[in-house]
Each structure stands twice: as structure tokens, then as C-alpha cells.
């Protein structure tokens, strides 16, 4: 799960996954069109939340999935983006500028954590992100500028199609970006760090710089996701936004679905949203417990995530059938 994938498969080229990327883009476009397709708002909301968790998951994946440095800060980074966007919009900034501000503030925050703690080993970085989350919560609650404990609201409630379309674009774009990255030269370098940082350094890979760049990119994405969600929610409460639960989702989604793959977070997001919906009617309080159990199970037994495990099982089933056919063709020897 946090370890790299098995060494044997040949690295697939960009060309070979192009159909997959086109399918992803088409799916995102279809999902974005939902507000106008006459679907019930219930279905639309489900798709929206899947996209939101998917985007957060890809953001986490971009950093922690690829480098193996577990971050608990992504919820805070998304929250920072949400606040920045809402403050900017309330100050009459145009939408594009507000979104830019959201991404920029999140990136700045990640620079602060990253520059200070990425030099240290994994555990230290994880702690640093955990404390960062707490610190941001405390500070945001304290400052007048961020509205104090009452949080802030968008002075004008925006129609729901706007954040919906934004989130679909982000989800699609993030997934495609991660897919391309995994297959690029940069991607190979990054995976080398995860595998063995010392060895990677020996062949001249500047681990710290790469980690920092990835962290900033991942933060920018999380910030944008937070901004879109801020527009959707229209009222932001620090206790909700900066609670560690959001960071939990950001890491559970790719872990359950499969890290360091583009499809993993999609599988994880679907599973997570599905569980929440099912449990809503049966046992609402249990969904956090179930997520925890799922996470536990995946880490312990399916350490490459559900998506890969299913893929493997399918391949084995197909392979078994193939072997049988081959044996039958060759006659029973």
C-alpha cells in the first residue's frame, strides 16, 4: 500500500492509456452536465460528493501516495482554500482571482510545512502535518479576519451548478494529471524515492526538492477542491472544515482504493460514498467505524488497495481459465 507496486510489469506508456484518459474526461463531462439533465438533486449530490472526495484523494495521492510520506494536513489545506475563496469573493474579487487566491494560500501553507519538515524522516513529517492541522484550527478560530469561531459565510449564495461543474472539472483533471504523472519520467523518479530514498539520492535524484514540488502541487489541488466546496456549502465553520475527519477521508479514499494509481481514488471515493449512503438509513452513527474497519482491513490484507486487489483477482480468474484452455488444447499430458 505504501510500498511500491511489484517490479515486474512493464511501464505502460502514455499512448497505451489514452483510451482510459479519454473515458475519464468523458465521464467528468457527463457528470458536470448533471444539473441540466433533469436528474434528481439526490443523485446529483451523490455524484458531487464522490467527485469532492475523489479530488481530495487525488491531491493526497499526488503527495503521499507517490512519495510515501503520509500527510494529515490535506483537510486543513482544503479548508484554507475554502476560506481564501470565500474571503476573496466577499471582497468582490472576480471568480478566477478568488480561485487563484485559494490555490496560492494553500500552496503557501504547504511551503511552510514542507520547507520545515520534509528534510526529516517520514514519521516527523506526519507529526508535523498533524500538528499543523491543529494549529490552523486554533488560529482560524482566534482571528477576527477569518470570522473567529463562527466562521464565515458567502454573502451571496451561489446557484448549485457552479460548484458542481467546478468539482467535476477538478476531479477529472486531477485524475488525468495523476495518471500522466505516474507514467512520466518524473513519476519514475518519485517512485524511486519511495522505494529507497538513500539509493535514489545516490543516483542524483534531489529528493527534498521533488517532495516539496509535489507537496505544493498537491496542496494547490486540495485548495481548489476546498474552494469549490466552500462555494457549495456557502457557510464555513472552522470546527467542521478543519476537523481531522476531512484529512481522514483524504487519505482513506486512496488507501482503500489503491495508492499511486489514478483509478484507486475513484474506486475509494465510490466505496466511501456508497457506504455512507447505505449506512444513512440503517445505522448512521456507524459510518466512521466502518471506514476505520475498512481502512484496517485494506492496510492489513489488501495492501495495494481494493482496485488492484480486484484487478489481480480478475486476472487470476482469467489466467486460470486460460491455463485450462491451454492444457485442453495441448491435450492432457
Amino acid at each position: 500500500m505504501i510500498r511500491e507496486r511489484p517490479a515486474t510489469p512493464v511501464r505502460r506508456t502514455v499512448r497505451s492509456v489514452r483510451p482510459g484518459l479519454l473515458a475519464a474526461a468523458a465521464l467528468a463531462a457527463l457528470a458536470a452536465a448533471m444539473p441540466w439533465l433533469g436528474v434528481s438533486s439526490y443523485a446529483r449530490t451523490l455524484v458531487y460528493y464522490t467527485a469532492y472526495f475523489l479530488t481530495l484523494g487525488q491531491a493526497w495521492n499526488l503527495m503521499s501516495g507517490l512519495t510515501g510520506y503520509v500527510s494529515f494536513a490535506h483537510g486543513a489545506l482544503a479548508g484554507i482554500g475554502a476560506y481564501a475563496a470565500v474571503i476573496a469573493l466577499n471582497a468582490e474579487w472576480p471568480m478566477a482571482a478568488a480561485l487563484g487566491a485559494a490555490a496560492a494560500t494553500a500552496v503557501l501553507a504547504s511551503l511552510v510545512i514542507g520547507a520545515t519538515s520534509l528534510r526529516l524522516r517520514g514519521t516527523a513529517f506526519t507529526f508535523a502535518t498533524l500538528f499543523f492541522q491543529e494549529l490552523v484550527l486554533l488560529v482560524v478560530r482566534k482571528l477576527r479576519f477569518t470570522g473567529g469561531p463562527g466562521g464565515i459565510v458567502l454573502s451571496e449564495i451561489l446557484p448549485v451548478w457552479l460548484p458542481h461543474v467546478m468539482m467535476m472539472v477538478l476531479a477529472g483533471g486531477a485524475s488525468i494529471a495523476v495518471a500522466l504523472l505516474c507514467r512520466s519520467r518524473v513519476g519514475v523518479r518519485i517512485l524511486a524515492i519511495k522505494n529507497d530514498e538513500v539509493a535514489a539520492a545516490a543516483v542524483g535524484i534531489d529528493a527534498t526538492r521533488l517532495k516539496l514540488v509535489l507537496f505544493c502541487a498537491s496542496a494547490g489541488l486540495a485548495g481548489l477542491a476546498g474552494a469549490a466546496h466552500g462555494l457549495f456549502a456557502a457557510s464555513l465553520y472552522p470546527d467542521v472544515l478543519f476537523s481531522v475527519d476531512v484529512s481522514l477521508v483524504a487519505l482513506a479514499v486512496p488507501l482503500i482504493g489503491g495508492v499511486a494509481t489514478a483509478a484507486g481514488p475513484l474506486a475509494g471515493a465510490v466505496v466511501y460514498v456508497g457506504i455512507r449512503e447505505v449506512l444513512q438509513s440503517i445505522a448512521p452513527g456507524l459510518h466512521v467505524t466502518i471506514v476505520g474497519l475498512l481502512l484496517l482491513g485494506v492496510v492489513m490484507f489488501m495492501n495495494e488497495g481494493v482496485a488492484v486487489a480486484i484487478g489481480r483477482a480478475a486476472a487470476r480468474w482469467r489466467g486460470h481459465g486460460g491455463r485450462q484452455r491451454a492444457r485442453a488444447a495441448a491435450g492432457d499430458d
Binding site: 500500500m1 524522516r121 498533524l130 500538528f131 467505524t289 476505520g292 484496517l296
Partner: protein, 290 residues
């Protein structure tokens, strides 16, 4: 600031610091011996708190009796978790094990929320009255907590520093493979360390229920501070954890008098940040840790 006031603040800070020390002791022990960052530590605190609450309200048992009961209960639960979950992931990269303990904490929190509901629980029973020493007032309740923490902490330190078992634990903390080669039963020692550590956490939980109120997240709040002091004191250094806890208790007491509670906490986290940067291995830990 008068001397009396200062002494009062010191007294207040010591109570908080001692309780935190008990929690941090366990965290440091687990990290030192098993190299595991136990995110699930808080759930054992919560377990001890709820167990004591039930004992006091259902069975009319005096709260302080809850401490040994919680200790045993926590140790048993810990032994079980160690056998079924942690031993299975023992060889794996530390970040994977971290995810396992984190997942366990999520599950634990969910179960407590489901079982006890979200609201607080508290009871009125327990030592009452206060003691006046040269102008400093300290309640018997807080004093009992302080004494129990000091006793348990001292006993644990004695166990680790002076006994044969403790020698084994320290050996494993220094070099796992060499210890195994010397014939030390590593898996059993790990079980012991984990059970003891979370038993202490549960005992701390029993004390928390006495001077505070119990909610499903009560353990989480203490554990976050626990991590702060373990990192400050040096991951794996037990004495460091205790010293850092007492120091944090004092700093917090004075800071929240001079500023206010929130600023005091912000200050703590900022200090921690600086500490991690300047000495990533903590104040008393060994260089190899972080």
C-alpha cells in the same frame, strides 16, 4: 506575581503535567520498544474513563478503585489488540503500522460514540474538600490524581530501569535483532510493553473521568498533547517524555494565566514546531530516532 500565586500555578500545572506524563510514558514505551506510533492510545484512555464511569454510577464503587480496574482492563484489551492486529504487521514499514493504529483509533472512536452517545458523562463521587498549604489551595481530588500518577509513573520507571524485564525492554529498544540473538523473547516483551503502556493509558483515563468529564473524544484530546511531549522529549525516551510533560504542564498553566487558553495552546504548538526543526530527535532522545 506573588509567590503564592506562582506556587498555585505550579501546583495546577503539576496535576495536568503528571496526568499527561502517564499518557506520554506509555506512548514513549511503545515507540521505544516496538517502533510503533500508537495513534490508538487515546482509545484506551477513553476506555478507562468510561469503565470508571460505569463502575461508579452502576456499582457504586469509589472512583479511585477504578484506577486498578482500568489498568487491568486496558492491559487486557491491549494484549488482545497486540495479538490480533499489531503482531501481524510488525515487520512492515513504520508508516503502514501508523495507518493501522490510526485505523484502530477511528474504529474505537466510532464504537464509543455508538455505545455511549455523543454527550458527556460525569459523576459527583470522589474525594472532596481541599488542603491549604501556606496560601496555596489544592483540592483533594486533584491531589489524589497527582499522587496516583506519580506513584504509577515511578513504579513504571523502576520497572524499566531496574528490573530484568525492563533490561530486556531497553535492550530491544536499542537493538532488536541483537536482543533476539541474545535469547530475549522479543514478541513476548513487545506484548508486555504494549499491554503495560495502554494499561497506564486506561488508568490515566480513570483519573481523567474523576477530574474532568467523559466523552467519546476525551482520549483523543489527551493523546494529541501526549504526542507533543513525546516528540519534545525525544521519541522513545521515557524519562524525556515525563520531563517534557511536567514542563508542558507548567508552561501551559502560566501561559493560560498570562494570555488565555487558546493562545497558550497556539504557543505550545508553535514551540513544538520549532523544537522539531531545531532538534528533530527531541531534547533527550537519540539521534537515530527521527
Amino acid at each position: 506575581m506573588s509567590l503564592t500565586l506562582a506556587c498555585q500555578l505550579v501546583m495546577n500545572g503539576l496535576v495536568f503535567g503528571a496526568l499527561l506524563g502517564l499518557v506520554a510514558l506509555g506512548l514513549a514505551l511503545i515507540f521505544g520498544v516496538m517502533r510503533v506510533v500508537n495513534f490508538a492510545h487515546g482509545e484506551f484512555i477513553t476506555l478507562g474513563a468510561y469503565a470508571t464511569f460505569l463502575l461508579v454510577t452502576r456499582l457504586a464503587v469509589p472512583p479511585l478503585t477504578g484506577v486498578p480496574v482500568a489498568l487491568v482492563l486496558g492491559a487486557l484489551a491491549g494484549w488482545f489488540i497486540q495479538r490480533t492486529v499489531l503482531s501481524r504487521v510488525s515487520g512492515r514499514p513504520e508508516l503502514e503500522v501508523l495507518m493501522v493504529t490510526y485505523a484502530l483509533s477511528v474504529v474505537g472512536l466510532g464504537l464509543f460514540s455508538q455505545g455511549f452517545g455523543g454527550d458527556f458523562r460525569s459523576y459527583a463521587e470522589g474525594p472532596t474538600g481541599n488542603l491549604r498549604l501556606a496560601g496555596v489551595v489544592v483540592g483533594w481530588r486533584s491531589l489524589s490524581v497527582l499522587i496516583v500518577c506519580l506513584v504509577m509513573g515511578a513504579l513504571t520507571l523502576l520497572l524499566v530501569q531496574r528490573s530484568r524485564t525492563g533490561l530486556g525492554l531497553r535492550a530491544i529498544a536499542q537493538n532488536r535483532d541483537a536482543s533476539a540473538a541474545c535469547g530475549i523473547n522479543v514478541p513476548r516483551s513487545e506484548q508486555l510493553a504494549f499491554s503495560l503502556a495502554v494499561g497506564l493509558a486506561a488508568a490515566a483515563g480513570a483519573l481523567v473521568s474523576l477530574i474532568g468529564t467523559t466523552t467519546p473524544t476525551v482520549g483523543h484530546e489527551w493523546v494529541l498533547d501526549g504526542f507533543v511531549v513525546v516528540v519534545l522529549g525525544g521519541m522513545g525516551s521515557i524519562t524525556g517524555a515525563v520531563v517534557a510533560s511536567l514542563a508542558l504542564g507548567l508552561i501551559h498553566s502560566f501561559a493560560s494565566y498570562a494570555l488565555d487558553d487558546s493562545w497558550a495552546r497556539i504557543l505550545t504548538y508553535l514551540l513544538l514546531y520549532l523544537a522539531i526543526l531545531v532538534r528533530p530527535h527531541g531534547l533527550l532522545g537519540r539521534r537515530a530516532e527521527l
